[in-house]
Symmetry: D2
Subunit: 488 residues, 4 copies
């Protein structure tokens, strides 16, 4: 599903775009450099821009930059402008619409009671509705981010203390959010009541850490303490950590697609190892969709763990039949029209020597628009494959996500308008198999999907949205719109 | 052997640095854009800088840039300055010593008889000696590149026609070279008599191509015609190709390390597929150095094919126990001293969940200084591995290369000063095994090394240099010097 | 008073820093390019950053850049992002405190009733007080600019139509402001009731223009219509212009220092030509402070018109005895400490040949800290001047400005702590003479200062502030603080 | 003659472009920073690019940058790469033809006997002829600069010691040159036998300096010692200075146009002060071309000293009737075609208030193509001038320069194809007057031009070239070619 597989960036996206990553630390002298490393480990959750806000006991410092963490936040001059023993950071997928740095988080505001910074992973599904209410009351928005809506709700709260104001504000939110906030005295972490996005707690020699994934703890050798619970608000000061559950607790519905694609394989979420889940998926897939073939080839790199599982489950040898060129920057432009039409293999190349005359099983994580799958199947055929079978490590993706993932509108999702056989014809494979929804639940060690009370958010596969979608006119009215406005 | 494995670039290099890549095309209207793509596919042979020279029937155009091809040569403005139906290009590892663009190839000179450009992969072992002779005759050098020595030899030749002058010049060279030259009428390709570096011929709808590796043909859908032979000079014009063998032909001695590490897995060189050789290596290694263990873990990414072979040969499961962060730019600086001492895992992370309590076989391609291996073993131990066994997909590297590879001086090569057991203690593994030199020859489908007349250049393993090393005072006098001056 | 006269930018400022410039146009297809030219002509009012907001009938576009207009806004790509037949722009002196682009104007907000952009020249002396009130009501400030306070006052207004809301907001302001606003339908211009900062109305083939100075009309060949009057609000639409005087009208008090230094010599303000006023000043100065000397030398470039007037008035020849190096960028850093101590003449050089053995009258516009004057006198002495007399084209500057000019705090103003004789000793001149306040009024063709009802704001000379200074605790309580926070 | 007067850089040049400046110092620890300052003072001789070569007792360091000295060479990182107690530098007008940094001086070569750097102001009129000879002998040229020809002549010299080789080389040159060379032990200065370009010797606390103009001594407080004489070669070591006159001495012919336009007003050359000469010119011009008028207005900035002299000589008041916008970067692009056709006044504006109804004498330094004069006269008329008279501070420029000045080809010079009356009609003035050639000689304190043995090079006015022009086919064969290839 890696959409830039064979093509330059001028093409329409053919993947679910990663969401955002958040990271915060309190109680360590060089807080901002540590946040930089944490964000670096979360770079797969958002590659386009990042920001850090620190507090040094006297004042808040803000830096926001477009580009990879390793290129922007590792300069001494940048870090020197971020003093303090507490800091929070955010990395995001994109800066849409010429907005430049305005939408880069964390956002910061000077309230009457002092400064406050906030970083957000997720998407608020009633943000526009709330924004219109706030504007009528005199609020001025300087970004198009739903995170600014949260800030304004805090600003307009009639409560007194910052934690109360924060809880008052998030109590008005609907949708998915994992938040990290920073005031002069406190670092706050919060997850929405369904716990759709991840957030975990770590410890680095006594300093508290909040991070989207455990891999961001590993990079600095921090200890994993526990996941923040759905609906939980934790308030961290120099003196320790308090836990609040201000809202009634619904059943958790963590995003199951985090296991399929978004999270890093070495992260553990809710006591499950992501790599292991993906291998389980491959084994389930081999069981549900067996095929007689000569080799199992992963579509690099996201299909690799499932392909290893598939090979193990099926007994068919695992081979790197597609070689990836790691040097493709995100800016590679195919220089001329004549070259664009050559079908240039910028990013991957079939290893013809291994493929020629063979029956090949390709394993990929998902199919979005199908254009990438078409090209890769074509590449296999040109390399001489005798048969090409495609196995997909998830059920068909039929519905857009409103919870912080950038997905094409429904009508652009291949599975929303074709049967599996039509899809197989479209991408020109000899056979095509998807994992079932129950197979996916089994891969995460559930007996299957509990349709009465689903254990996860799986709306992209089932269309079963766990919240009202106010800005969309309610969940029965999901429009077929591009969701580029999603952010988080 | 990927030296930036766990560390930032401030550390000493702990790898054999890739050499250069060359690419040329004659007979295609958009020659420079095609060269750009070819160089992009050869980026693994040199990532720091690149250049292209084109000729449009009237004049030569030259562009040289520091940075990745995809960032520098894909701009329309750059390509618009490179018109013509013929062009040659070069990608190189580094621009040492503040020399900036002066050493970036292709080099170009205006001779009395017209312009000439040249791109070089290899290293001339009597270049300094020749340079001193030329300076005494009045030559002015504007770079420190051995390639400029070749240009001056052509300029001072007393022959008349450019091909004769070219042959006159290379007849004075000693060492390794694969050259691509461009005059107003001709594109010239040449390989040294031992054929140490690769060079192949391709065809794109009637346009001739010269390229370091076949993967550069694949990216543009060009047809592989044949390898240029050791000692061969090919002269290509609009009317066709001529082949010359101006020198007596010694037995070929292709660089066997190209198979181990340098070449891309999907390339075929001298009728062998690189990926397949590496898998063979893994199987030989499992046969020669068996071990009782729970899982085989590749050191990503260069150890992966051998690890797959090792797993297949040993029956031990293959697992991605180390996860790579693809977002590490080459510029990542660890921001503070305190963080530098944390042992930050910038580039790789152990997947603790898979490693804990297990007996692990790590497979890597080679050991140079050993510092990287130390760190990765340590990372495995911190992740809870019960035993750590290291298997290396080549014999111990004991001698520096003088043929176009940037290697540390001999005294810095761990294997030159330690026994295998001492090395095992140094990197703190439970067992350490290298491939034998005969095992390596078997992996390339030879019955073994013919010590009377070795089939390959394997000097880095054996110290058996196939040429005189004039600039070093002869091959019996190899000094323990840093070879940073090597280029090509 | 040009503070970078002989020194690099690392030194403390020794000048009154220029304020801001504003420009707007409605009714011309390529509005943004015209604004670019207008801002270019106003560059002397603010060199560090600029912004433009345009409206194309559907949406507002915003561009803000740090750097000179000619370098940042002349790129086609920037202008292409600013479509529309109406646009307003702003150029400003500096972006203090690492705030980067956040404080660059025009500021833009999306109100409940539609978008609104505003550009401001001046300074609101109760902005902080208002900001605190607004924050208590829930307003979030994203800049430290007083202009944002104006936006929030508009947002919180309980009036309905944008013009009413605008008037409601500015009715709460105290201080100096010349404002240009842009809504979907209207361009609004406003000057504070005292008319401290300039603003004029122009016409370009039927398109309306608002500009800080007439030189911004000249650059595009626009016709000067009239000055906007103190306390006037003009509302411009496609259908014409309306004028409002919503507040009681006090006597105008235009900033007299605009004539002395800020405005461009070719501008006309309130029916006076700036160059002519400066020549008049020089003649008054010669009359009030005669001296027997051989030549009159201007301190380039700001002292030149007064020096011409002084020469004309005194009959002493005018000579360019100091030569300016026009190539000093604002970034020139003196590279080493040893060089910094050499007293390097980066920007000006005495023409020794003309100076040696002569009695020289230097004419400068003002003395702020005196350090620049010291250096230039020293330069004259080293060039062999027999006598050095300094004549200043304004009265002593004794009080800081709170109306949009960046001045040092009172205690840093040389004239606030020394008598004229002490100042003469400090800068080491043979004689020093300032213009009297009445002489200055005569130069603008008034009979003298009407102390009962002064015709101008001359607070920097007299300490007589024409408004309450609420943020300073009232005008009787002017603190000796740096006023870096001033902006506008 | 300031060609960008009213127009953007897209127009054809309408001025004689400044030549190059050179500067060297030996015997001062921070040599490179001092050279930086010297080049900054010479920036008017070449604004596009600069270079410095230093030697620290062990090795030479080279830095070349495009841009203003103050932006490129003041960075600590740049200067830190230029250690040593001796250094030479060069600033140049332009980098024509995409050559980028290749043509930026000083050039450096590693000879058999050691390194040598050279910086050149002037132009060698047999450089191409010599280049062809050298190429036939095997020389490879890496730039198109005539300076490289000098380097090759040194390299091919059969003499032994560097000074002998240097003299051997320059003995083969024809044309104009002021050279500064640097070897490991010596700094060499040389002027061509006619002394066409300036070069002077200075002293800074015992360190020797060579510089194009005395203003480069003033900036660092160095003492002027003497001009280097025509045909002189000085060799400077730590032990002192030797003077050589290796060639027969013709009569000196210094470029008289240096006084008119190129040199800085505060420089003294051959015992004449440039500002004073320009004032003399103005007075001669008033005497030769009297006119009845109300005010004398300089075309800023190059016409100002002559205008002061004209005003003094004629008794007509001097006024700044044209105001210059100092913020025009060299990159200002007029953003749209419609704006380009508005006749936008980017750089200058008439001060209508002073001009309206007046009889104006404009004073400019020269007329090249006449297009700029046309525009400025038009601007005066639009500002309401009753009469416009133009007085030019030099004779008509009728012939191109081959000695280091970038001039249009002969056919583009207005004076080469029109009478004075035709020129007056072309630029639409009421009267036009040029200085006579004898008037110009009187302004430099000669009784007049000695036509038998002219005291100066005045070829641009007279067509009387003082050297053979070999590359042009001899001086009787001056082709009407663009001389963009000139450099120096």
């Amino acid at each position: 599903m890696d959409d830039s597989l064979l093509s330059g960036p001028e093409n329409e996206a053919d993947s679910f775009r990663d969401e955002c990553g958040v990271f915060g630390i309190l109680g360590r002298d060089d807080a901002a450099p540590v946040v930089t490393l944490g964000l670096h480990a979360l770079q797969h959750r958002g590659q386009e821009a990042a920001g850090i806000v620190s507090f040094d006991g006297t004042q808040f410092s803000v830096e926001r930059h477009i580009g990879l963490i390793g290129d922007t936040f590792t300069k001494r001059s940048v870090l020197d402008r971020l003093p303090g023993d507490r800091a929070i950071g955010h990395t995001r997928y994109s800066t849409t619409g010429g907005e430049g740095l305005r939408n880069v988080q964390p956002l910061f505001a000077e309230f009457a009671g002092g400064g406050f910074a906030i970083a957000h992973n997720g998407n608020i599904t009633n943000a526009l509705t709330k924004q219109r209410e706030l504007q009528k009351r005199g609020a001025i928005f300087s970004s198009t981010s739903d995170t600014e809506t949260i800030l304004h709700l805090i600003a307009f709260s009639e409560k007194t203390r910052i934690v109360e104001r924060f809880i008052d504000a998030i109590g008005q939110l609907e949708g998915a959010y994992s938040l990290v906030g920073l005031s002069q005295k406190k670092m706050i972490g919060a997850r929405d009541p369904l716990g759709i996005r991840p957030l975990c707690l770590g410890d680095l020699d006594g300093a508290y850490i909040l991070a989207s994934e455990t891999c961001a703890l590993d990079i600095i050798g921090a200890r994993f303490v526990r996941d923040i619970k759905p609906g939980e608000v934790v308030v961290i000061t120099e003196n320790g950590i308090e836990s609040h559950f201000p809202f009634e607790k619904p059943s958790p519905r963590f995003c199951i697609f985090e296991y399929v694609y978004f999270a890093r394989p070495d992260s553990n979420i809710e006591s499950r190892n992501v790599y292991e889940v993906r291998k389980n998926i491959g084994m389930e897939l081999a069981r549900e969709n067996p095929v007689d073939a000569d080799l199992v080839v992963p579509v690099p790199d996201s299909g690799t763990p499932a392909a290893i599982g598939f090979a193990e489950g099926s007994g068919i040898p695992f081979e790197l039949g597609i070689i990836r060129n790691h040097y493709v920057g995100r800016t590679f432009i195919q220089p001329t029209a004549s070259i664009r039409h050559m079908g240039v293999k910028l990013k991957h190349n079939a290893n013809r020597h291994m493929i020629e005359g063979k029956r090949v099983v390709l394993v990929d994580d998902s199919i979005v628009r199908g254009t990438t799958s078409q090209k890769i199947v074509q590449m296999m055929r040109e390399a001489g494959a005798k048969e090409v079978h495609m196995r997909i490590a998830s059920p068909p993706t039929m519905s857009p996500c409103f919870y912080g993932v950038d997905t094409p509108e429904k009508s652009k999702l291949l599975a929303s308008r074709m049967s599996i056989q039509e899809m197989a014809d479209f991408i020109r494979v000899d056979s095509l198999g998807f994992l079932t929804i129950d197979g996916l639940y089994r891969a995460v060690r559930e007996p299957g999907r509990n349709n009465e009370a689903p254990q996860f958010c799986d709306a992209c596969f089932t269309g079963d949205y766990p919240t009202v979608l106010t800005d969309q006119g309610g969940k029965d009215n999901v429009r077929s719109l591009s969701l580029l406005a999603n952010n988080g």
